[in-house]
Amino acid sequence: MSQLTLLIVFDAVLLVTLLVLAFAAVLSPEPRRAVMLFIAFGLWLSLIWARLQAPDVALAEAAIGAGLGGALMLAAARRAARTASRSRGDDAS
């Protein structure tokens, strides 16, 4: 019984962390930060999937979803930041 409770607590901690990461990623207005949080969310997701006995999917999510998807988004965030700084520069001049 206590083992079951422990397991449920463990699951609850995993899930709460996941949801916190998701909320943080979605609510962050700063692009780079949002992408970083999204990558963390994806990696945490793959951890949970490994715990749910889905190692194949966990590997794929870590590599494709969080890894390559995150890399693509980071490039876009860098782009957005560059444009923003340039337009701020235009405003100042």
């Binding site: 194949d56 590599a63 494709i64």
Partner: protein, 261 residues
């Protein structure tokens, strides 16, 4: 992006709208959760699991997920490779790749020289191991793609991929081999993508190898973000002679940073 003055009312309204949406969607979430609870209790419990394991010995692989991906539901996987290719061709249609970043320092270069081969070797291992343990074409392809991203970050504008002509063959390899195997089986009377149990293992490995190459190339090329620079690239988007044979390349090939052994 800069908000002109006088938008206060609008922002206030949008805040109200957000709140309203949040409330509505919370209700939706609660309703969905209840429905999900009912669905879980509907009594379909083993679903397809037992049947999938029962048929596993005749699929040619021992990893059940690989069996679903490349045997039971191989047709889905074929079309999914087509989706990946469509997205990449859409990216290529938007224009040539932006110039790469400047070549980075010695530390990164040194890292590239051992991380990239490691990724490629691991990818090959993943592909092979996918038949009986976690792994397979997607994970292997993703590792190849990651190797491409690292090479690109280290300064190679082509992310370690070959010139456009060869790259096109790499990209289509997955769908092409998949379709040809399927049609070949159909021609021999087995039915589209119906593997004879004795050949299944090798046919699946063949398809997976081609798919790995295609996925890796497509992911790396997607990160490059445009038609490949290099000898085969067409520098101008506005040349008119659609059916004349290609001219000989004028510019020399890109600097060699080809990590493949």
């Amino acid at each position: 992006m800069s908000a002109p003055a006088g938008l206060d009312r609008a922002t206030e309204r949008s805040r109200d709208l957000r709140l309203l949406l949040a409330v509505l969607l919370t209700l939706l979430g609660v309703a969905l959760t209840l429905v999900y609870l009912i669905a879980l209790n509907a009594g379909a419990a083993p679903r397809l699991a037992d049947l999938a394991y029962e048929r596993l010995p005749s699929t040619g692989v021992q990893n059940p997920v690989t069996a679903v991906l490349l045997n039971y539901r191989a047709y889905d996987t074929l079309m999914e490779l087509a989706v990946l290719l469509a997205a990449l061709l859409g990216i290529w249609a938007l224009g040539p790749a932006p110039p790469g970043f400047q070549r980075s320092g010695a530390v990164l270069a040194a890292m590239v020289s051992w991380v990239v081969p490691l990724l490629i070797v691991t990818g090959g291992y993943m592909l092979w191991v996918g038949g009986y343990a976690p792994g397979g074409a997607f994970q292997a392809g993703a590792l190849l793609g990651a190797a491409g991203v690292i090479v690109r970050l280290a300064g190679d504008p082509r992310a370690g991929l070959p010139g456009e002509a060869a790259q096109r063959w790499l990209l289509v390899a997955g769908v092409l081999v998949f379709t040809l195997v399927g049609l070949g089986l159909m021609a021999f009377g087995a039915g589209f993508l119906t593997y004879p149990p004795t050949l299944a293992k090798w046919l699946i490995l063949l398809i997976e190898a081609a798919a790995t190459v295609a996925i890796g190339a497509a992911l790396a090329a997607a990160y490059v973000g445009g038609r490949p620079p290099g000898p085969d690239a067409r520098p101008t988007a506005e040349d008119e002679d659609a059916l004349t044979p290609a001219q000989t390349p004028a510019n020399p090939p890109a600097p060699p940073l080809d990590p493949r052994p």
